[in-house]
Symmetry: C2
Subunit: 119 residues, 2 copies
């Protein structure tokens, strides 16, 4: 099995604090992993065996950028999870904060997120 | 069912960047949630239905503090996951970075982490 990883893309334009970012990223990671576990169990199992690699990157392109990345990832058959904040603190309710992609084959995910910088 | 939440405790003494913190917290969240899904499925299901609340807090007490919190959480029967970094970037291999507790009943988790400050 090739390298399996998960990438989480965070909006850098919202000014979220590091605790807020961590909670939103965890939410995306868990949701996307749950989808993978159900729809792509071999990816999920390999990812867990390999140490569940996660990479956190950023975009300054706002909600539109996350939606475009989601569309690209879906078209490649990758599990995705777009996270909206419940808005109890810091942000307006329904604000899109981050996008989880994978676990899935590293090369496929790189087609979507390969140009984004690390958070 | 009472309120179910997950708390992730992060070491604040390591000087981790926000992307590093987010990845480590996601790791802890996923591992502890996976344990809950297998051992406490009613907690896990309720947590997911309630919106999978996550709270990220910090300790400056180093590895010893995380281990003590882990012991307390275990003694209450809560799912826990203590995360060690693989040390490929930023940290020495095997450095303990954070502790995931729950999902579990909010009141039980507060007995362990109620005095810790938000990250």
């Amino acid at each position: 099995m090739s390298e399996i990883k998960q990438v989480i893309v965070v909006r850098s334009d919202l000014g979220m604090g590091k605790g807020k970012i961590a909670a939103q990223v965890a939410h995306a990671a868990l949701d996307a992993a749950d989808t993978a576990r159900r729809k792509h169990p071999t990816w999920y199992d390999s990812w867990r065996e390999q140490g569940q690699a996660k990479v956190v990157v950023k975009t300054d392109g706002g909600e539109e950028a996350l939606e475009e990345l989601q569309k690209q990832a879906r078209s490649l058959g990758l599990p995705v999870s777009l996270i909206q904040d419940r808005g109890l603190t810091q942000l307006e309710p329904g604000t899109t904060t981050c996008l989880g992609i994978g676990p899935g084959p590293s090369g496929e995910i790189d087609k979507v997120t390969g140009k984004l910088k690390l958070l």
